[in-house]
Symmetry: C3
Subunit: 418 residues, 3 copies
């Protein structure tokens, strides 16, 4: 009883921290984009949290933890609509559900994760996507696609038992693949189908910087995300186990720090100035990178994984530009590329390292990637051909805030008069 | 011993979260008001926290939990000035005080609540109230009125034992009435006695929008408030009880999400654009609405209570405008109207539903409303006739920051030059 | 086992809160300085967190808790590079390390403290220090000097056993001296060697106000710091002990509140307007002041210590101006002067009060002050004579953001057009 209560307290704290990440994502995204689209971005983010949670209650939770039936091959299952808490004979909540937390905590912690996938996409498609299309996409992707992928591993599906040689199944501790790359693959497709913002590439194809409007908020967003990751990774231990949780916080923080420092050093060498945005994205890359194996790494492993993620970010952002993909906040480099890196790193560093495990990790990356690419493509392509996914040229130039929301982000902001 | 320590850890976490709500309120209020009054608003909010806590230490805690004497009829009691911690024979803190937390945690958690009532008023009277008058009002209302009302229920007073038929006493889990409506009633009186801001109503009485200056901060404020509500409601379980706390977090979050989505849908139907402010106020309405019964509801109940609160907000804001009351942040609709709704909802939904309970809830609403209306009227009316409650026309037009504080909120803010 | 897990959960929560203080420091510093140096300040702060943590992992932790050898006289020790977790015979983490937390939690909680010292300096030297010099200074001061000083007391060194008469050793609960004054002394030296910003003192030596650019963020920074202090002081109990932690949160909050109110009253009397910045600095002064004895004080003691700190701040800021030292954020008054006050207050108020203890506290202040002054002087003086510590006049006037970072803080910020 004591142990359950302690574990549950920790999991609730982590749930709150993961919720708070949504403020981090919002700040990061509005900070790195133009003022004229700020209301639109805030609206998307608030929508994602609210609708994500309601959908996870309605279908997501039971898609993700369906208790797979025999014939399903661990690929698809659904335990029914709504929440169905286990009850004792007297009608109270059955606390024997789990030693780590109650049924309610389980739902809410996982529900806070679900919305994250759509938030990642939100950043990549910012400043030009039609709000209605984005809302429909979010409903389908967060409500159905994310939990199905999640069920393959965390729901006890086929990836969790997939074997190659000695390797005992795919391993993705807190979601480098199952959360971050799920968002990242959809971001890639969406950016491809949407096209780049007006002015992002010059007539000869060279990328042009489109600076954001509020870097202090972007920096605050990254620090809030780091804080939230204490819950994202720390809660993924699924109990308050003292050794497991505290090691996880150490590896998480060290990877973040190493990612930031290396991204700063590499970008300083390449671009000859101290680039704050790269430093910040390096931190996020380190965090995404360590997420798949945060409980399996030594501090040294964590520093190495984070450091490599930091370098990957700098080249990844350049690569996305080179491919003429327009990702205003660097979401694809951070969440997709570093998500893949982190997943593979489980086979290279730490307690699970080994060539067989590396191969299994690769299979997981491909399986999830294939499914997400196809489903995201279908959803967004259908939206493109029906409601349309892109705002008009006039609306894009004027800004989405005025057209979609009839509102400025800073309507009464004035220069001081003296 | 273990159990006390766990409970106490959870209560301290919740205390910290409730404290953090003050940043949420501050961001919301400055975001939705004009730049020229920003320093004034921040000053009021910081003042409220500091003075509220000191007063709660000096008198409030002992007014709220007086241990009513026989003849007091559960209406008024006072256990003396200052804090008086229970001691063991050896002089250490007596931990037998309570199974859920220590004496110190009890004081601090309740103290963080106390300041909230004044914060609600602060938003409604923003941009025109005289700071000195507001400070005096705060001292009396937070120091004396709030704890007296609280004593009626949480201090074991007459509301807590009030019976009609089968109903076993008024129920207000975390303060839809005892906190939110206490602030809301005073806000109503204050707004009425103050009058509207210059320009809020045209000569033919039509309400004019006076847009705020920093919507990103307003949105951040709402997300911070949602986070804080995990502590506000989660801590009101008064222990770390696994089933109770985790159900409470689930109902709280679902009500917030449903409130936001419904307010967005209703306002989109009515006003034909995606109104972020309504979405945000819908979230707050859902949170206030679930607060009275967050531990008594199923997830479905919570969604319904939140959804109705979301609709109520849209019509409530319109109603306040129609009544020619000028409430810059929508505090009356959010905290008073949804506070009443949430209190009554305890008699309609969930474990305590029943007609008798509904009547008792109504009695509680009326008793608290009557007392708050009268006392707030007396305090503010006397202030109006003595020190004055409204700044001069010139000061209002110029902004309060320059006149009262000799300071701008963004004194060095510059447009970029390129 | 239960007890260790509870304690460890509390310590992890506190670790997260101390981490979050870095956002508070960042907001406070950018808020109180000019827009043109915002990116530079954010860069410094993010650098400090990341590099501070990596260095604490590499050398700091083992310098601070070296397990002093016989001949070292508790003055200097080093337990080797990197982290070296205690293992059980089976190779798992040895949980017998400590009853309050695991080895990993110990490292991370202490590591979060380490970066704070440099952050304090960062505020004082803002708007004119050369980034490269600041980075080198940070590496040495956070990596080596801070942990050596810490080892004298928290590592079991000579201060922890220093006796005068009845006094049983120096007492500094959470670091009024060991953290705040360590940063404060270096800030004093750095400000002296750097010189004041262009325009800070008129030709006749009168101080000129150089207003910051974003007071809302500064206010948010202070509220975030207060929140973080729940972890800074609450975690310094080094367990979840119910009586100790909850008393600490009460004294911490009351001192903050009293500091703010007194600074507001004194500054209103002196300067005839309601000065928000003084109110905010008073809160910080109260927090720094209570830090040395937060677990030893009654609520009344805490209010008195905070109140005196609040007054000290107002006069301290004026004194620093008078000495022609240019400290843009008031870091020296807050962290050094109130740090000294709080350390001495342990000998005046609360459970350890006594003349002998007062003398021991003074010895601690002097020992730490002497060492920090000398080492900070050597580091910064050598930097001044080699790489240089101050940016060019042109760079200072243009702002550091453009020159060092090629970036504006709000590049796309526009006035609204209507």
């Amino acid at each position: 009883m004591e142990m359950l209560t302690i574990n549950n307290v920790w999991m609730m704290v982590c749930t709150a921290l993961v919720f708070f990440m949504h403020l981090g994502f919002s700040f990061l995204e509005i900070g790195l984009t133009r003022q004229k689209n700020t209301i639109n971005i805030l609206f998307k983010n608030v929508f994602i949290i609210c609708v994500g949670l309601l959908l996870y209650c309605l279908v997501g939770f039971n898609l993700m933890y369906p208790g797979f039936e025999e014939g399903a091959a661990g690929f698809f299952g659904f335990a029914g609509f709504g929440l169905d808490s286990p009850l004792t004979a007297e009608g109270g909540l059955d606390l024997a559900y789990n030693e780590g937390y109650t049924y309610w905590t389980d739902f809410l912690f996982q529900g806070m994760f679900a919305a994250t996938a759509a938030t990642i996409v939100s950043g990549a498609v910012a400043e030009r996507i039609k709000l209605s299309a984005f809302m429909i996409f979010t409903i389908i992707y967060v409500g159905v696609i994310y939990p199905i992928v999640g069920s393959w591993q965390w729901g006890g599906g086929f990836l969790s038992t997939f074997q190659i040689g000695d390797a005992e199944g795919f391993y993705d501790f807190a979601g480098s693949t199952l959360v971050h790359s799920v968002g990242g693959w959809a971001a890639l497709i969406a950016v491809y189908l949407l096209g780049s913002r007006i002015g992002k590439f010059s007539s000869d194809g060279k990328p042009q910087a489109i600076p954001g409007h509020n870097i202090p908020l972007a920096a605050a967003g990254v620090l809030i995300l780091w804080l939230g990751w204490f819950g994202f990774n720390g809660g993924s231990v699924l109990s308050a186990d003292a050794a497991g949780t505290s090691l996880t916080l150490v590896t998480t923080s060290l990877a973040a720090a190493a990612g930031g420092v290396v991204a700063f050093l590499v970008s300083t060498l390449m671009y000859k100035n101290y680039d704050l945005t790269m430093f910040l994205n390096g931190i996020l890359g380190g965090l995404v990178g360590i997420t798949a194996g945060a409980d399996q790494m030594s501090p040294t492993d964590a520093v190495l994984i984070g450091a490599i993620a930091g370098a990957v970010i700098v080249f990844g952002v350049a690569l996305i530009d080179k491919l003429k993909l327009d990702d205003p906040v660097g979401a694809i480099a951070v969440h997709l590329i570093c998500g893949i890196w982190g997943t593979l790193a489980v086979g290279i560093f730490g307690a699970k390292a080994g060539f067989d495990q590396f191969l299994v990790q690769g299979v997981g990356v491909l399986a999830v990637g294939g499914f997400c690419l196809i489903t995201a493509f279908i959803i967004i392509f259908v939206l493109k051909k029906t409601v349309g996914i892109r705002v008009s040229e006039k609306e894009e130039i004027d800004g989405l805030d005025g057209h979609e929301h009839g509102m400025d982000a800073y309507p009464d902001f004035r220069l001081n008069q003296h």
